[in-house]
Amino acid sequence: MDFTTFLWTTFAAFVTLATFSFLYKDNPFYKFAEHLVVGVAAGYFVIILWHNGLVPNLFRRLADGDWYLLWLNSTMWWYLIPAILGALMWTRFSKRWSWVSRWPMGLYIGISTGVAIPLEMSNRVSKQLYATMIVNPQNPGIDWANFWGHGGFDLLDVASGFSQVLIFIGAVAALIYFFFSKAHTGIFGKAATFGIWILMIGFGASFGFTVMARISLFINRLQFIDQEWIQHAMNPENMVNGSHWPYQLVFWAMILVVVGYMVFELVQHFSSKGKAAPAE
């Protein structure tokens, strides 16, 4: 890793630790990192919209025209229409003219909702219903021959007839639970109760996965700090003009900042103890 990259990585490590300091409490380092990333991300989006959006989809298509003729002499002049419609969106900032922005908005809303109706209906409703009950090559009906599992009694066999029946009953029961137009009493109520059990198991599985997901985000940061930063700082093969000490210097300076801030906070904490209750 060359020294410039190492300096950048050190800065990345600094903002990482600055963000983690929020776990103790809100502080200037965290605020700096947070505000910085908001700005940089917005700037990044400007550039991506420009270079990946406007340039290839609009400017290049109008490029054979002349800008002083407002590209009307371009062979693809009709791309000016969406550009004008897009520009009308900006009337939002004027109180008087903001109603004009509803035209392109209406166009967009019309297209996106019109597209959604048949596709969402077939995807979320029909295909899921097919998969639940209709016999087709993908779902060849209830497997009565292996109702209690393939090769002997096995309730945990996901392809057994029992599991298929359970999926059917579970899905119907959960749908019944969501059906509020009829009071949940009698058999209907029992089905709704079974439905909520199934839903709870589903949410539990989701929750187990969520715990895994959140922890892994933290693990990634640990890996970054160690593998991208500490290991490079300690690797004697990394050198500037034949010496390794600049890496060490930058590294320990950073550590000094971190430890210094920790000590500062601790001193503050103990000197203010008794004056204010600890943060919950």
């Binding site: 990946n52 340039v55 959604a116 899921q128 993908q138 779902n139 715990v211 922890i215 933290f218």
Partner: protein
């Protein structure tokens, strides 16, 4: 005893944070390996990609922001590397706002490593170069992913007249004769948000291409019905899914490494749940007793 649980329940949460950090760091520096057993839904993705003949195009949608890089970046590395090793071509889009940077970073770090040492993570690419436009094509970003997915079903050139780097699609060797989803072997969507819904509804549902998903753990459970209905041929969920894929392609990366820490962290969380519940039940029993008196 009552006092102990009472105090335990009122513990400042920063002690809990500190405990988790310490456990994770200890686990990270200690040397052990967690055995990874690939699950069926991950194996199907590996087998599908592995069975493709050389020259086929695998489309990878890198639809995640840096927020989710922990879980999804290892998947990107593993799949892209597997495709190149198998001489498959990779077509990449990224329809998430900060996704282009993620794709750019992943492509750069693999190609840079291959250019310098002819190896990536232990995999040797002797006598072969990975070339932009021949082995991969990065289409870039366009807003409104639902309509972009529909547009690509007509023609990739509709939303993407040029690739991310500004080369017209028609002059990219790999894209010659590649019109729409009919010309790609499969789409693998690595996503950290609801773009996945649109890849299923507007993509697979409408154009019937084979679709596999790489998801963050938070989302994984929600997409199993599509596995059941046959619309999706595989799901990789979270870091464990990524680790399983890394094991299958024999390319141990950050996910395999991270599972070492995941294990004790899960134990800590389970411990927290247990302690919290014991405290809860002790407290409830005491209250019942007090009321009984």
């Amino acid at each position: 005893m009552i006092n102990f649980f009472d105090r335990l329940m009122r513990l400042d949460r920063r002690w809990i944070f500190l405990f988790l950090i310490v456990v994770c760091i200890i686990a990270y520096v200690s040397d052990f390996d967690v055995p990874i057993m690939p699950e069926r839904e991950v194996e199907t993705i590996y087998e599908f990609v592995d069975s493709l003949p050389p020259g086929e195009i695998v489309m990878i949608a890198i639809d995640y922001d840096p927020n989710n890089l922990a879980e999804l970046h290892p998947m990107t590395y593993a799949i892209v590397e597997q495709c190149w090793r198998k001489n498959l071509k990779v077509l990449i889009t990224s329809l998430s706002q900060n996704g282009p940077g993620m794709a750019d970073e992943a492509l750069r770090s693999i190609t840079d490593s291959l250019a310098e040492t002819k190896t990536y993570n232990g995999q040797v690419y002797e006598g072969r170069e990975v070339v932009n436009g021949v082995d991969y094509c990065f289409l870039g970003y366009k807003p409104y992913f639902a309509l972009v997915i529909l547009g690509m079903g007509q023609n990739f050139r509709l939303p993407f007249p040029e690739d991310y780097y500004g080369t017209p699609l028609d002059s990219i060797p790999m894209m010659q004769g590649v019109l729409n989803y009919d010309d790609v072997a499969c789409v693998i969507d690595l996503s950290g948000g609801n773009i996945t819904d649109y890849w299923i509804s507007y993509g697979q549902n409408r154009f019937n291409f084979p679709l596999a998903l790489g998801l963050t753990g938070v989302m994984t459970a929600q997409y199993y019905p599509y596995l059941g209905s046959g619309q999706v041929f595989g799901i990789m969920g979270g870091l464990l899914g990524a680790a399983q894929y890394e094991k299958l392609v024999d390319n141990a990366g950050l996910a395999r490494d991270g599972m070492r820490v995941q294990l004790p962290a899960h134990i800590v969380i389970i411990l927290f749940i247990l302690v919290g519940n014991i405290g809860f039940f002790v407290d409830r029993r005491n209250r019942h007793r007090a009321e009984g008196r």
